[in-house]
């Protein structure tokens, strides 16, 4: 069964290597999905807000990583 575990670990590693970074992406996606509809956002802006948040997460994480 160790080969199944190593396959699963390999697959998981493809998507997550920094838990904080992955969690930030998921939290932002969840916020845009569940919280944003409560605010009266004009159609078309939701997608832009999703992108801007993801771009900021990427920028912040890359700069933090570069400092290490």
């Amino acid at each position: 069964m160790s080969w199944v575990r190593s396959i699963l670990r390999e697959v998981f590693g493809l998507f997550v290597d920094d838990a904080g970074f992955a969690l930030s992406i998921l939290v932002w996606l969840g916020a845009v999905w569940l919280v944003l509809p409560r605010f009266a956002v004009a159609p078309g802006w939701n997608g832009i807000i999703l992108f801007v948040g993801l771009a900021l997460i990427l920028l912040d994480s890359a700069v933090r990583q570069a400092r290490r």
């Binding site: 992406i25 999905w33 078309g44 570069a66 400092r67």
Partner: protein, 157 residues
Amino acid sequence: MSIGWAHAGPSILAAFLASTVEFVEALTVVLAVGSVRGWRAALGGSAVAVIVLLALVAVLGTALTRIPLAFVQLAVGTLLLLFGLRWLRKAILRAAGGVGVLLSAFGCFWAGEGIGLDWPGADWSILGLIAGFLATALLAVPLCRARAVGQPIRSPR
């Protein structure tokens, strides 16, 4: 089969052209995995994926259409986002890029579709997302360089 190839042809061609975006998406993932984990693993994985896909279509047939589209879009989009942004961050730190931009843009688009967002310009917004992630990466590279250069050199312990 009740309809002939002559009648089914235009539908098949339309379906093929409509799936071009997915083709580019899948090709990008294979290129990304191939350059990180090696071509043997990427091509082997692609071959297994094609076999699994054919088996699913053969076994489930039209029952596949009962799977909620939004759920599939959200699941695939989220996985693409996690993979693409992870890849793009690594590319920024190495001052290289390309594939990560495409994966992040596709992931953002599909995840957004899955949660029911309205994209301005519908499918064309993928081009805007590609430009947006590329601009973010181009902005991040000098910022990361400045941070890395500004770091004091640690003495070995």
